[in-house]
């Protein structure tokens, strides 16, 4: 197509209209392609000939405006909602009247379960590659959190289960509850905001992310890259208690600890006070007994030393030439306690002998 221009001296000058038409016509030479992205700002009105939305790259936020003629769109019978990941088949187009660049959709396919799973797997591998799930990143949970932040949805069960279990184990626990969207396209950004708000509350030492079981799609916000990153980067340790045992949303991998249920999360964040008191009283008992045992042991040591000392002292006397004379009734200290003919035993420094008394004198 030939685009007309005027000549001003040595430059060619196009009118806006001619320029837009020229670019638009050049764009028609590009092939139709499939583009994957997240639907945002979906707009439709009865008087509009087309529906509009923006396709967003969840990785870096790049945006691409999309339009689709209403007839074609309605024929697809799609329930498009913000946050859905879709494949759009279309060709680039310049809307000449406004100079707007966009993708003109010929068809739109929401991602099937298989594709969503594959996408999750790719995200998981990419984040793992960044080290987001590394064991070295995991922080230890405090034994006594000054305050516990609970981030949950409006469903009563997760909140009730958690608070019941926490207060049963540790009645003194302080819990700050924050509730927000936990499913649907608004959930991930809402959770990210609520998490950061909760973390900045004073004296919050641990945050529990709790959500009861749900369908695979229901739990998708907990695998959203924004939330997974927010959990990994949260200044306060995070416990993830999302879904059931078999579900592993990516936020579970980024969290510092993972619990299969809100009740299990409670066991991770507060100690059992009864157990602690028992252990403490056991220690106190040992503390009371230990010094007594120590003194008894020292006394026994002293006694045995004294015994050895006594033995040593009479040994040295014998070595100097003295002897000890004994009868059945003990050591002979007085001559009147024996009579001629009595049998005596004589102990010397080395050995001894038996003897009979010949005579006595006072």
């Amino acid at each position: 197509m030939k685009v007309e221009h005027e000549v001003h001296g040595d430059r060619k000058v196009y009118s806006v209209s001619a320029f837009n038409r020229g670019v638009a016509s050049w764009l028609t030479r590009l092939p139709s392609v499939w583009v994957e992205g997240e639907v945002t700002e979906f707009r439709r009105q009865a008087r509009w000939q087309s529906v509009f939305f923006t396709l967003k790259d969840p990785h870096d936020g790049s945006c691409l405006p999309v339009s689709m003629p209403r007839g074609g769109f309605d024929a697809l019978r799609l329930e498009l909602a913000d946050g859905m990941t879709v494949h759009v088949f279309g060709r680039p187009e310049l809307f000449a009247a406004r100079g707007d660049f966009r993708l003109r959709a010929l068809t739109i396919e929401p991602l099937g379960l298989g594709a969503v799973l594959a996408q999750l797997e790719r995200l998981k591998r990419r984040l793992a590659g960044e080290g987001l799930f590394a064991a070295a990143r995991k922080r230890t949970l405090p034994l006594f959190p000054r305050r516990i932040g609970l981030l949950t949805g409006n469903e009563a069960a997760a909140k009730r289960d958690f608070i019941t279990a926490v207060t049963a184990r540790f009645p003194a626990a302080r819990v700050l509850v924050s509730q927000t969207y936990v499913q649907g396209p608004r959930a991930a950004p809402a959770l990210v905001t609520a998490l950061s708000d909760l973390a900045s509350e004073p004296a919050i030492d641990v945050i529990v992310l709790a959500r009861g079981g749900g369908s695979f799609e229901d739990l998708l916000p907990f695998s959203d890259e924004r939330l997974v990153r927010a959990v990994a980067e949260c200044p306060v340790p995070v416990v993830s208690a999302v879904g059931h045992e078999q579900d592993t949303p990516l936020c579970d991998l980024a969290a510092d600890a993972r619990a299969s249920t809100p009740t299990a999360a409670a066991r991770l964040v507060v100690p059992d006070e009864g157990e602690l008191r028992e252990r403490l009283s056991g220690l106190q008992g040992r503390l009371q007994r230990a010094p007594r045992l120590l003194v008894e042991r020292k006394r026994a040591g002293l006694e045995s030393l004294a015994g050895r000392l006594r033995t040593l002292s009479h040994q040295s006397t014998l070595r100097r030439g003295y002897a000890i004379v004994r009868t059945d009734s003990g050591i002979v200290r007085d001559a009147s306690s024996v009579a001629a003919g009595d049998r005596v035993d004589v102990e010397l420094a080395q050995g001894g002998f038996g003897a009979r008394v010949e005579e006595t004198w006072p």
């Binding site: 949805g153 302080r174 819990v175 809402a190 708000d197 509350e201 220690l283 503390l287 045992l293």
Partner: protein, 70 residues
């Protein structure tokens, strides 16, 4: 064994355990044993106090949303 700041419950309980084990080992001098016992008793009271003093509370963050389902 000078402590500048008050130890946390875990620190206090760990130290108490160490003291009890050392006393039970029976190798401490009598003077040391007495000092250890005093310190142990202090730590026990500290742990007990920490368990006794905390006050339970559940608060709701002001900002709530009306409905979970969009």
């Amino acid at each position: 064994m000078a402590m500048t700041a008050e130890p946390s419950f875990e620190e206090a309980q760990r130290e108490l355990e160490r003291i009890v084990t050392e006393l039970e080992g029976g190798r401490a001098s009598l003077e040391d044993a007495l000092a250890l016992w005093q310190r142990g008793d202090e730590l026990y009271r500290l742990c007990l106090g920490k368990l006794d003093s905390a006050e339970g509370k559940i608060e709701e963050l002001g900002r709530r949303v009306e409905e979970a389902r969009p």
